[in-house]
């Protein structure tokens, strides 16, 4: 047993060492400027959270027992939500073990699981910062015994285990054809349901009877955030400790079960996929859908657009992003559309469409060759050439964008959100102009800074993508500025015609810029072909970053 534990420890150390070497080997290949630019966003983000953490600490340091008893459970509840939901919201998963590559080695399942739990820390760094702030605040509070804040560590462990379970559950759901989208959709909906209900019933000052019953039932449960708050502030009862231990045990069982199931998927996915995918002799509606580009374009562009529709539709990661743009965007902004006033409420569909553009940007606009990986070489050797490929990819991007807007508009009509024909037209036009400008920039980034992406991985790979994120951060406001000008013109002249007129002019200018940009990007891409193919063919380390 001891030798087993020792071996696991040694293996864990070896895995972490190999990951560190992988990152170290990768870093020197990036320029100093690239590294500096890539560091700005994390510094700003984590700097902000550090400030928030200090603020929380100061509040808790001076708060009296009553205030702590009242507000700490609420704070921990929101911390829990943030920890568990933000990775879903961002479609990012932080670090996780590349179990597929580690399975052939004699590593006990417990060691892999332990490492996976530790790696979950990376998906909740912001939450850990806040938890550390709360811990320090309570520790320095003279009214709180010095050892009780340590219970917050147990709350952190609970969150880590839940996040392993949720991630692995998602991986499993998204690996199953048919139910993966439904599963992801349900989880997304469950995640935003509380906010949606709160917005819905806030104005009525009373809950519907069924929700009231649910609230009463919920009051009878000792939730982990309540138990942790009581225990860490010293205002606890033995039932709090028991409840927290039970919650942690339940989270462990959940996480362990999901992790074991994921390993089983890793064991069977390759061959199962090879057998299950092809069902010949069925000319389904999807097949007709894939073939529709042939109506509008001629080969080779039609063939490449068709290939894009097929591959993107089959990619778990793209489907998840498409679904997020559709569902999250809708649910986040719907309460504003129903009850709110001002720009958001008036231009609801446009706001949701812009959010969808932002979510789809990485895949459709800024890293269009990412899913092609080594196969991108084909574009340089096939007679069709890179120009046809990029043009087709851009057309496919526009198609998916307009499909997303159409679906959002249809969903709005179903849930009876007030939409006018003018609002729908506005959403299409604004998203179209935004997309054309993003494509102009994105064609450059796709050809000059390509990043290999795994289409079957449901989550975004954030490693090596900070440059693209930086480009996105700058380019999105730039691309959105013309639409802002059109709105200004509309308000200044108090006429929709002025808005559409300016937007039409910008669309024309954007199209010219797109054509010039495409020529230039292709010329650069042709010169950069060796580096481009090498970058797209790259793999990873033992930990998926």
């Amino acid at each position: 047993m001891t030798s087993h534990v020792f071996a696991s420890f040694r293996q864990t150390r070896a895995i972490l060492w190999a990951q560190w070497r992988s990152l170290n080997n990768f870093m020197p290949r990036r320029s100093v400027a690239g590294l500096a630019l890539g560091s700005i966003i994390p510094v700003l983000t984590y700097g902000g959270f550090t400030a928030l953490s200090v603020f929380a600490g100061v509040l808790l340091m001076t708060a009296d027992a009553e205030a702590i008893r009242h507000y700490l459970p609420i704070g921990l509840f929101f911390l829990f939500l943030y920890w568990q939901l933000m990775p879903l919201f961002m479609a990012a998963s932080g670090l996780s073990l590349d179990t597929k590559k580690l399975l052939p080695y004699p590593i006990p399942g417990t060691a892999l699981f332990g490492l996976e739990v530790l790696l979950r820390l990376s998906a909740g760094v912001e939450a850990i910062l806040l938890l550390a702030g709360a811990f320090t605040g309570l520790l320095l509070n003279p009214g709180v015994r010095f050892w009780t804040p340590l219970w917050l560590a147990a709350f952190g462990a609970f969150n880590l285990l839940v996040s392993v379970g949720i991630r692995d559950l998602l991986v499993r759901l998204l690996a199953r054809k048919g139910i993966r989208e439904a599963g992801a959709f349900l989880i997304v909906m469950l995640a935003v349901l509380p906010r949606f209900l709160a917005e819905q019933y806030a104005s009525q000052h009373s809950l519907p009877p069924w929700l009231n019953k649910l609230r009463l039932a919920s009051d009878a449960i000792v939730w982990p955030w309540t138990a942790s708050a009581h225990l860490s502030s010293g205002a606890s009862h033995w039932t709090d400790a028991l409840a927290l231990m039970l919650w942690i045990a339940a989270a462990y069982a959940f996480a362990r079960r999901q992790f074991d199931n994921v390993i089983q998927i890793e064991q069977t996915e390759t061959a199962a996929g090879a057998f299950a995918r092809h069902k010949p002799g069925r000319a389904s509606w999807t097949e007709r859908f894939y073939r529709f580009p042939g109506i509008f374009w001629r080969d080779p562009v039609a063939a490449i657009v068709e290939k894009e529709l097929r591959t993107l539709s089959r990619s778990s990661r793209f489907r998840l992003l498409f679904l997020m743009g559709f569902s999250f965007g809708l649910v986040i902004w719907i309460p504003m559309a129903r009850h709110g006033k001002g720009f958001m409420a008036e231009h609801f569909l446009t706001v949701v469409s812009a959010y969808a553009v932002l979510l789809l940007s990485d895949t459709l606009f800024c890293n269009a060759l990412g899913f092609d990986r080594s196969a991108a070489q084909f574009y340089f050797v096939a007679p069709a050439g890179l120009r046809a490929a990029m043009k087709a990819k851009n057309l496919a991007a526009m198609f998916f964008l307009f499909l997303e807007i159409t679906l959002v508009a249809a969903a709005c009509l179903i849930v009876r959100v007030r939409l006018t024909a003018d609002g729908i037209l506005e959403a299409y036009c604004v998203a179209g102009v935004l997309a054309v400008l993003l494509l102009t920039i994105g064609n450059y980034t796709s050809l000059l800074h390509p990043r290999p992406a795994n289409p079957s991985s449901s989550f975004r790979n954030s490693s090596g993508g900070s440059r693209v994120q930086w480009v996105l951060l700058i380019s999105f406001p730039i691309a959105a500025a013309p639409a802002g000008l059109a709105y200004l013109a509309g308000y200044a002249f108090d006429a929709r015609a002025a808005f559409y007129g300016v937007l039409a002019l910008e669309a024309a200018a954007g199209f010219i810029a797109y054509r010039i940009g495409l020529d230039s990007a292709i010329a650069r891409g042709e010169r950069n072909r060796e580096a481009l193919c090498a970058a797209l063919g790259q793999g990873s380390g033992p930990v998926s970053t």
């Binding site: 150390r13 070896a14 590559k101 080695y105 061959a271 057998f275 793999g539 990873s540």
Partner: protein, 257 residues
């Protein structure tokens, strides 16, 4: 003998009624096979016959639908950690980490197999030299050619001196010099008592190296025996293979070709 360690006379591999079903189709269908210790065993079959699925199940990378697998006397997957400790793997797709250099990866693999860090590092450098990868120590695996990647994978399979080698197309993409080196190494391992279980489409290689051969077709075992038992008269292994799995019929041509 310590408790739980199987006797050395147990077969290297014992497969009983193994089945693997994907989407209602059996990739491996009731396969039973025994591979004695110290044997160079060739596992053959046409494309899609179930070779890779079988070897993936032996490696513990795929879960059998039914049937039993025993490797070096240990049941798989119940004692998969003990089994993996004793086998060297070269899978069909090399599971290498592209952002590590060759020596780094070999050291990493050695440490995962339980070697002390200095031992793993020393053996990694020796294997790099043995596989004629000297001069590429600072290159990332991502920059290696296919043949070089196979050599590194082979090195990782050897680093802990396993008792059994499971190899799926180990010579694919390797040049003649590299293939010769790998063959010599494997023959040497068999001489010292190790067992090699490999799949290959290059029948001449199998014929020259292997003591025993099994041929599967559509997931079922169709022939098994020593090389002399299988060949009758002047028949080559290729003749036997084509006779057993079919495909020697009239060659049809396409009108447009």
């Amino acid at each position: 003998m310590p408790e739980g360690i199987p006797a050395p006379e147990t077969p290297a591999i014992e497969i009983t009624e193994l089945r693997k079903v994907y989407a209602a189709r059996a990739a491996v269908d009731g396969l039973s096979l025994t591979v004695p210790r110290g044997c160079f065993f060739g596992f053959l079959g046409p494309n899609g016959a179930g070779k890779t699925t079988t070897i993936r199940m032996l490696m513990g990378l795929a879960k059998p639908t039914s049937g039993k697998i025993s490797i070096l006397g240990f049941p798989m997957p119940a004692q998969s950690v003990e089994i993996r400790q004793r086998i060297g793997l070269v899978p069909d797709e090399t599971l290498l980490f592209d952002h590590l250099t060759g020596p780094e990866f070999l050291e990493f693999a050695g440490r995962l197999y339980g070697l002390e860090r200095p031992t793993a590092r020393e053996r990694a450098l020796e294997l790099m030299t043995l596989f004629e990868l000297g001069g590429n120590e600072k290159k990332l695996i991502a920059d290696y050619s296919k043949g070089m990647r196979k050599r590194v994978a082979m090195g990782a399979a050897l680093i802990h001196r396993p008792e059994l080698f499971l190899m799926d197309e180990p010579f694919e993409g390797v040049d003649a010099v590299g293939a010769r080196l790998m063959k010599d190494l494997l023959l040497d391992q068999v001489r010292r008592g190790a067992t090699v279980f490999l799949t290959s489409h290059v029948l001449e290689v199998v014929e020259r190296l292997c003591d025993r051969v099994a041929i599967i077709h559509d997931g079922k075992l169709v022939l098994e025996g020593s090389m002399d038992e299988l060949r009758s008269g002047a028949e080559t292994l290729e003749d036997v293979f084509v006779r057993v799995v079919g495909g020697a019929g009239a060659t049809e041509t396409l009108d447009w070709l």
